[in-house]
């Protein structure tokens, strides 16, 4: 027997379950119906391998997008499911993993940088240039004001205690590594993430 891919198998059983065999018994030509059920919403989609963003089981996921290849178009995420090849989750997902499409495509996502002034009662839209400019200015001023080259015992300590970075459990190793590299080069000692919570 030739090896069936998982999707060929699913499509085949879907055809049977769809009633093609039953209809043939009544003399209908079932060919058109079989072709019909072969069309799934992911048939034309691009499959990309990703991972679940929630807990640390590390479930592999397959994400399906349609479109986005021509200019001025954006791919549409149509479906996410567990990756059956993974020796960890073998295609399964929990309620959170199964609904990640709604996390990815979410109306509440912030769409542009925002600034809140002291005492202000709302966020105000600003440009990325202004946002980066403000952030760098705050970091520099706080660092310069709270930088200790030598402590009171005469030890070289080269630390800044003006600001802290917290986070990292939701970003990749590579982003986390860059964070630690930059923060330590700035002399940051208040560097923490979610390991203790």
């Amino acid at each position: 027997m030739p090896e069936l891919s998982r999707r060929q198998f699913l499509q085949g059983t879907a055809g049977v379950a769809g009633g093609a065999v039953g209809l043939a018994a009544f003399g209908f030509d079932a060919e058109a119906a079989i072709r019909e059920v072969r069309s799934t919403r992911i048939e034309q989609a691009t499959e990309t391998r990703t991972l679940c963003p929630y807990c640390a089981v590390g479930c592999s996921m397959l994400a399906y997008t349609i479109g986005g290849s021509s200019s001025n178009t954006h791919p549409v995420l149509v479906h996410i499911e567990g990756d059956p090849d993974s020796p960890i989750n073998e295609g399964t997902l929990c309620p959170k993993g199964a609904s990640t499409l709604q996390l990815a495509v979410n109306a509440k996502r912030a769409k542009y940088p925002m600034y809140r002034q002291p005492g202000g009662d709302q966020w105000e839209r600003i440009s990325w240039d202004d946002a980066v400019g403000k952030m760098a200015r705050w970091m520099k001023d706080s660092r310069d004001e709270h930088f200790t080259e030598t402590d009171e015992d005469g030890n070289t300590v080269n630390r800044q205690t003006g600001f802290s970075f917290l986070g990292g459990a939701t970003i990749s190793n590579e982003e986390g590594y860059l964070t630690a590299k930059l923060m330590r080069a700035l002399g940051t000692v208040y560097l923490e993430q979610q390991a203790r919570v």
């Binding site: 991972l51 807990c55 954006h74 995420l77 542009y112 080269n158 600001f163 986070g167 993430q193």
Partner: protein, 814 residues
Amino acid sequence: MTNHWRDFKNSDVILVIGANPAENHPCGWKWAHVGRDERGTRIIHVDPRFTRTSAIADVFVPIRAGTDVAFFAGLINYVLENELHQEDYVKLHTNASFIVSEDFTFDDGLFSGYDEAERTYDSSSWDYERDEEKAEGEEGPDPGLGQGTSPGAAAFAKVDPTLADPRCVFRLMKEHYRRYTPAMVSQITGIPEDKFLRVAEEFCSTGTADRAGSVVYAVGLTHHTSGVQIIRGAGILQLLLGNVGIPGGGVNAERGHANIQGNTDNAISWEILPGYLAIPRAGMETLDDYVEQIPAKALRPESINYFGSNYKKFLVSLLKAWFGDEATEGNDFAYTWLPKPAQNSSWLTIHDEARAGRLDGIIYGGFTGVTVGPDSTRMAESLGNLRWMVIMDPLPTSASEFWRAPGVDPASVQTEALFLPTTHWIEKSGSFTNSGRWAQWKHAVLPAEGEIRDDNWVLGSVYQELKRLYEDEGGAFPDPLLALRWPYSDPLNPPLEELAKEVNGVDLTTGEQLPSFAELADDGTTSSGNWIYAGSWTEEGNQMDRRGTEDPTGLGFFPEWCWSWPLNRRILYNRASADGEGRPWDPTRPGIQWNGSAWTGDVPDFPADSDPADGQGAFIMTGEGVGRLFAPLTLTTDGPFPEHYEQTESPIHNLVSSIRRNPVTFLYEGAPASFAEDDSEYPYVATTYRVTEHEHYVTQNVPYLVETMPDFFVELPVELAAEKGIDNGSQVRVRSKRGEVVGVAMVTKRMRPLRVGDGKVVYQVGIPVHWHYAGGKGEGSQAPMMANLLTPYIGDANVRTPEYKGFLVNVEKA
């Protein structure tokens, strides 16, 4: 985890404690079900609540929150009294035979060296007897900065392989745990004595060579002032039973975020640099000082002491990755540029500094201090005292909106803030490392829409702007910032593939990707951003993106699926899976075995060609060369053996000593006044937890999940509800000394009243953590629904993990 998810199927008995994996890690936990179906794996669940994990367990045991040290101590005592330990393993692979200094004592809850005024120990007496005097000039312990210092001088420890010496670790341990009789454990924990004995009998049956037992826990087990000692208790038990290093065994932490393991490895943690290298301390002026004082020294002639002996290579290679050509032998490889903290700088301390007005700003990258707590009111106060705050997140959080939280007048909050919309995981590539240390690569599925930018874009752009500012204006010590190696093809948004290669490491003479950390050098000829990831992206390409589905041993190692640190090893300490001759303890379940010329099976956690006849120690990461039943010197702040203390807030006195609370926990300014001294006003024990439909706080933004688990609730026993006239489904108010929450009462028989001490009845209350004012049903609501409004501002004596579990509350109809 020492082992990994799929390995649960290799266990004979799994002890789940302080975790609810059937609810919170279901797709990994299913391997326990496979074990049950295929080999009859028995499952024991110990928890304050009867949960979905209890429902599929063979034995469920209710426990009073916060008494886990006593529970493990009772099991250790049961093993020792009944001689159920795996004797050959214990003699070969643990420090049972090491002789402890005559100066080490323990009396009524206190170890030798306690300083009551400072609330610290001088741990110099917690040492082994040595073959000779300590070398001159050795530094003493440094309790203020916590764990991780070198266990003393290079003089070897004395041992008695017969375990007859009354001062050997084994005998001292037996004496220490003699007090934890089943009756005593029952009185402390509330576990009925017959149930405790049933668990003890069942789990301790794995102390034979042909049985494997696994301890599985989650962050809940660490949420205590003695959290480190609870985990030590699990480790000691597993070493005694011969369960460390073997398939189906181990001490296995299930972690809660997709990359919490990875970014602990990469050291977004105040006390470490990538690869668990200690952050240097003030006074370690040179690289030589650091290398002299930090790495472990071999404490036995047979100890390989791999970590300790190669520490300098790992640090120098890291400095080369960070500072490139600016790190030279002439400038100590830029060692002095590394910051040296003045004090514990964990995030409880960070928010305390903010509250005191000593910290200007916080950058939160996917983190929200307010809901994370503890004592959310105090956390919000801290944020309100900042000059500035930057939020990098895809979605609004309780921290980004704290200035307009219920009851807060925005005009009163002077904190200036930026919200920077960043990409989700699905809009970029990169690797996540799971609980089992498997680093898996993902591919970008979608481009970012509109003005949403990558986290790396923010870091890269801010770095370029800072460089410009320092070049134009000067400022405090800009050297490390200006010298930082930044060779990325897009300096504004460093590509993740280039970073992954940098993390792996490079032979700087040939330019080739390194295959292993064994190739790292301390002379500046190699670079590696994180030595434990060396081998993840080699000349053969990205090993983390591998998709091989072969399982040659049938034990579930899947060596060609992704890549696990270190060196694609699937079970840590796996040399201990074999005996002195290199034969597996259990031939049906070999970790590694000696074939006469090499170790085969899993990737050996041991030199691949080290003949067992040479007798080298199995635990290559410790100076002892063996597993530690006794943790000497500064490895912990609160004692070489785990000892039970009551929680910060508890309904009874300590029954095993007169020392009520952990005597060395750090007390933050003003916090003790918010702790209940007894149970007169707050009689019930509360614990917090998670549900399967939600992950912390972000899922409040996911409509399907809000629909399936819509509302904040409080779980309480039927007996308590009846006493208070609280109906199932009605509103209940829960108060602690710090705050209150109001939610739907879920009156349940799943939380049983426990009898503790001399028969006192204790009720426990369960409170899930997910709801708040910045999303889901909580958005726009004035109702207090953040569990951490209730929790105390205090952390573990070693690592300052907050005590989210086992605090006192009162309840009433709302």
